[in-house]
Amino acid sequence: MQSLFIEGSSLMHRLSARAKLLILAALGVLLFVTTNIAVLATAVLLTAAVYFTLGLPFKAAFARLKPILLTIVVVALFSLAFNPWHQAVVALLRLTALMLFAAGVTATTTITAFIDEVTALARPLERTGLVRADDIGLAVGLVVRFVPEILSRYQAIREAHAARGLKVRPTTILVPLLILTLRDADNIAAAIDARGIRRHVI
């Protein structure tokens, strides 16, 4: 799986992951307390300037945001049809600015840096016994490792259907896919424990 990180040396790249996430959180709060269109429009211009100067070609940078931008525009148009126009414009600008900065953080932060932040965030939760911070990195690694496995398994089940002249239906394909995948859990768990990766589990 290809991450959304982009190599570069912009200011955003040099900021620490934690600083960027804190700015994003603050921006989220600030954008939602104001309804002043001039302020929000300035925020959109600033965040757009940040996002489009990260070193990604404009076309690729825009393509990434298209699906989200589309939902924002659809909802704003829907709002415009029934509500005063001011409200629709505010929502449109607010979400666009937030989306641009969030996409900027994503494009300039490596997966490793993110996992470190998530782990640090989960440390205090360890005391409640709900989560082991180190397990998060392990789980992420497992998912990334297994997605291609599941896709090839799906292909194999499809071919088995075709070979028997069966139609591909959700229930006939999802059940073997789930069972075949989840049946691996015991072997993987045994392998993880044998290597002592989760030391705290005896």
Binding site: A107, I115, L178, A185
Partner: protein, 187 residues
């Protein structure tokens, strides 16, 4: 959480991700393709139960947040949480929990196949539709600046597809329960 449970959650998270990449599967009787990952969320609750199902969905959200394009259409990254429809994404957690909780209560191995399927269907409907839409619509109404009634009516268009997904999730849940039961036994 035992290592096996953690691995089960991660594998299910991988299945939810894969559901966003797979080419759509069409149902025989209705021309609606089943691609959406919300089917995966319902299945997580139905197959794994409340606790593990919730963790599986949380893992997917962590993957989104750290910038992997794991949502359908290659979406991902923090920007995915800044759309007016992000309430539906965040609502996955509660949806998986509710579906799993109800599945654990409503379904047990002693029932006949029809009763199990009905129990799973109810769990998936309440968790994957009622709870999920409550989260999604509230967020859309507040953040999208739409107001509740408009957000509600705007979302109704997606209900028929989700009812079909709940139905598929129920059949899948039933079949997995018969073939490879994982749901925690009722206490």
């Amino acid at each position: 959480m035992s290592t096996r449970d953690l691995v089960l959650c991660a594998l299910f998270a991988a299945i939810i991700v894969a559901l966003g990449i797979l080419p759509p599967i069409t149902l025989g009787f209705i021309p609606v393709p089943i691609t959406a990952q919300s089917l995966g969320v319902m299945m997580a609750g139905v197959v794994l139960g409340a606790r593990r199902g919730t963790v599986a969905v949380l893992i997917v959200l962590v993957l989104v947040a750290i910038g992997l394009p794991v949502l359908s259409g290659g979406r991902g990254g923090l920007a995915a949480f800044a759309a007016p429809t992000s309430g539906f994404l965040m609502g996955w957690v509660l949806a998986a929990f509710t579906t799993g909780y109800l599945s654990e209560r409503l379904v047990n191995a002693d029932q006949n196949a029809t009763m199990q399927a009905i129990g799973f269907f109810l769990a998936a409907m309440i968790g994957g539709i009622v709870v999920l839409y409550a989260c999604g619509i509230s967020y859309l109404a507040l953040v999208g600046g739409l107001g509740f009634s408009k957000a509600f009516f705007g979302s109704m268009a997606f209900i028929p597809g989700d009812v079909i997904k709940a139905f598929v999730a129920a059949l899948v849940g039933r079949a997995v329960m018969a073939g490879y039961p994982l749901l925690p036994a009722r206490r």
